[in-house]
Subunit: 443 residues, 2 copies
């Protein structure tokens, strides 16, 4: 495969995107249900192709080229296929993200403006080993009416090919050419360079991987890099609640971006609180690293400057004693990654100061940072968590894959009538109704 092939595929996707934008939610959901059925019908082909990938990966593992984690992520079994099928059906069942009237305004008599959600166009995704990422991105794209360019890792080559063929065939009755798989390594560069044709990238992989994508493309990237999240235990914290939150935020699932990496404790309660949480952390096997004042209370290693900015993704936590609430806010704004921050306090004013003062996608009061997640937030299908501030921030649902389109209905109006000394005035009255794509034809 050459770059020319990738360009051809993307151009094909651009044309298909225009068709896809005109399908109904029912049609797209039906296509997704056909896909779920087709995945179920082709289990043996999927498992067979996956076994070839796993075999090759295990050879690479023996040669020290691949890690065990990679091999584990790559491997599919009937349970994992069940989960994938369930995910596809659940995306099919989501509310339609398209055609939502976001604003409606009468500019003047017989001149009505509607702002409506529409697909973005062509979405690209580059992802690492998990073959389920391919099916997930394709499903989210299809539901939101976007064409998709998919580039998987070479380690999942056979799995990806089979899954891609199933997706393409199961949805061909709706629109052809809306989804393309690109495989060659040089195709990644081709994809990253097509900022005129690809409207949004959704990378899936490690922090380093997402950062690499961000640093090497002009296409907007919807993705998250690291999460350096904090739990601040205020002077007015309920000790038991503080222990619960600090424990859950670190221990419940340390490998993810919304897990806490640093615990900040007000100096007035440090000598009472720290031994209590340390006992729990120790029992859970959490390694603690502290600043000087923490180490005067707990027998732990020293936390260096590097610790304050590190996402461990593991059972390690850095601990700092702060003089005051403003110091806690300052520390978070200096070292946090603007992902998710929580304060534990019974003092309402202190909670306000923290929540207003901290610049992060999610700020919590008396709750674990681990709640920052599209499913828990009730967003339905999670497109991703965005650590950027533009377009989408924090956990992102299907509306992150939409953009706006203004529809203006007139009866021959000219701007000249609304300009100059005898200008007609705009009325700008709100309209109650929604935009109905078939409204004109129904008249």
């Amino acid at each position: 495969m050459t770059d020319t092939d990738t360009v051809t595929k993307v151009e094909d996707a651009q044309i298909a995107a225009l068709e896809l934008a005109q399908t109904t939610n029912e049609q797209r959901s039906e296509a997704l249900r056909s896909l779920a059925d087709a995945l179920d019908d082709n289990r043996s082909a999927i498992l067979e192709a996956n076994a070839r990938d796993v075999d090759e990966a295990e050879t690479m593992l023996e040669q020290g080229e691949y890690s065990q984690v990679l091999v584990d992520r790559l491997k599919l079994d009937d349970d994992k296929i069940d989960t994938i099928i369930e995910m596809v059906r659940s995306v099919a069942d989501q509310d339609d993200p398209l055609g939502e009237t976001l604003e409606a305004r009468k500019l003047d008599d017989g001149l009505e403006l509607y702002k409506v959600s529409v697909p973005i166009g062509v979405v690209g995704s580059v992802f690492e080993s998990r073959p389920d990422a391919l099916v997930q991105i394709a499903s989210l794209s299809l539901k939101s009416g976007n064409a998709a360019i998919l580039k998987g890792g070479s380690e999942a080559l056979h799995s990806n090919r089979v899954l891609y063929d199933i997706i393409r065939e199961a949805t061909a009755d709706l629109v052809e050419g809306w989804v393309h798989l690109v495989e060659a390594h040089e195709a990644v560069d081709a994809v990253l360079e097509m900022d005129e044709a690809i409207d949004l990238l959704m990378p899936r992989g490690s922090t380093e991987f997402v950062r690499y994508i961000q640093d090497n493309t002009k296409i907007p990237v919807l993705g998250h890099t690291e999460g350096v999240c904090h739990v601040y235990v205020d002077v007015a914290a309920d000790r038991e609640m503080a222990t619960d939150v600090a424990y859950d935020a670190k221990v419940q699932y340390p490998a993810v971006c919304n897990a806490a990496e640093t615990l900040l404790v007000h100096e007035e309660i440090a000598s009472e609180f720290l031994p209590a949480i340390a006992e729990e952390y120790e029992a859970a096997g959490v390694e603690m690293r502290g600043d000087e004042r923490t180490r005067s209370i707990l027998d732990v290693d020293e936390a260096t400057q590097t610790d304050w900015q590190t996402e461990y993704g593991d059972l390690i936590i850095s601990i700092k004693v702060v003089d005051s609430l403003p110091d806690a806010v300052d520390h978070v704004n200096s070292y946090g990654s603007k992902h998710t921050e929580t304060i534990v306090t019974d003092n309402a004013e202190n909670a306000d100061v923290f929540m207003q003062g901290v610049d992060a996608a999610s700020v919590f009061h008396n709750a674990s940072t681990r709640f920052a997640d599209g499913y828990r937030y009730g967003l339905g299908a999670e497109v991703g968590i965005s650590t950027g501030k533009i377009h989408a921030r924090g956990p992102v649902g299907l509306d992150g894959l939409t953009t706006d389109k203004y529809y203006l209905e007139g009866d021959g109006q000219r701007v000249a009538s609304y300009a100059g000394p005898d200008a007609t005035q705009f009325t700008h009255e709100p309209i109650e109704g929604d935009w109905d794509p078939g409204r004109l034809s129904d008249e």
Copy 2:
């Protein structure tokens, strides 16, 4: 000035942005009214500094370095200062773009989630000669709680300095350091490289200028490049209405991006419609260029492939006769810049096909393309027109300078309770009320 100075200024703005995010709409609007008064009080200083810039520019004009257009844009007088002051007051009077509750959901008893609009952080702007751009960007940024880094053109050096000093002094009581002016030519590169610190760029200038900015930064750019807009006169068009719309879209103000560049005419009505519109265009001094079939009806020059993709920004229009509505849609999707497209037709189904099928920020039915504008759309202060699809599309109001922040109010919840075999279920019920920043403190 060195790049280090620019970096220092941007860092200062980042700190000020955190303070600014905590001010109220009343405070920011009051600061804007102080600014309006200060501009009024300092007219002579502004005009004096501007006269120096104009003097120098006129010398450059004589030497053939500058154009007359540049000198005209640069020049301020009392009327223009009135307009600037009025603009600042009107921004002050706008509704608060911040603190709007966009979603509110009860995740479970005592666990309430609010998604609220907040400032983006630090906004950068690089602009060409008009000194009013400086005041406009600063006002929009302040109203929306964003710190601003401003880089004007060297031709407006003295005007910009005086205006910047007035802005800084008039708003210093609110927050210091929220606005900075950078001047050195190398500062542009420094600004464009600070994608970690500057959250959004709003360039102001020509298409080439905006494209240069887009091509040389990783910071998201809110701006518009060219507008290649079409008027399609359908077979079922009212002839008189079609003439009105096609005339207004080209002639009313040809220099702007929402003016039409190409007229598409259905072949069945071409021989009747084209002579009528040609008469009007000729009377207005519009140069017409046509395809073969147009030229069999009108005595005009040939339109080349280049014409279909050109934004003339002038009294020139390219004309093409199309076989069918789908051909018109195809032409628009192939050559349009996804800005604003209009169909003139009395056939409702044809209008639907065009409006759904064309991929553009604004699609109109029986109205001039010139209506695509924030003021006419009733958006209040216009931040810009975006030709991108991400973050904001089409005419953009103050909400284009906001992002989202999730606030979660709990009473000590742990994610562990919502996981595993005995997991508590999320309720995800809608909440009617809005997020109130002072709600906790008021209890």
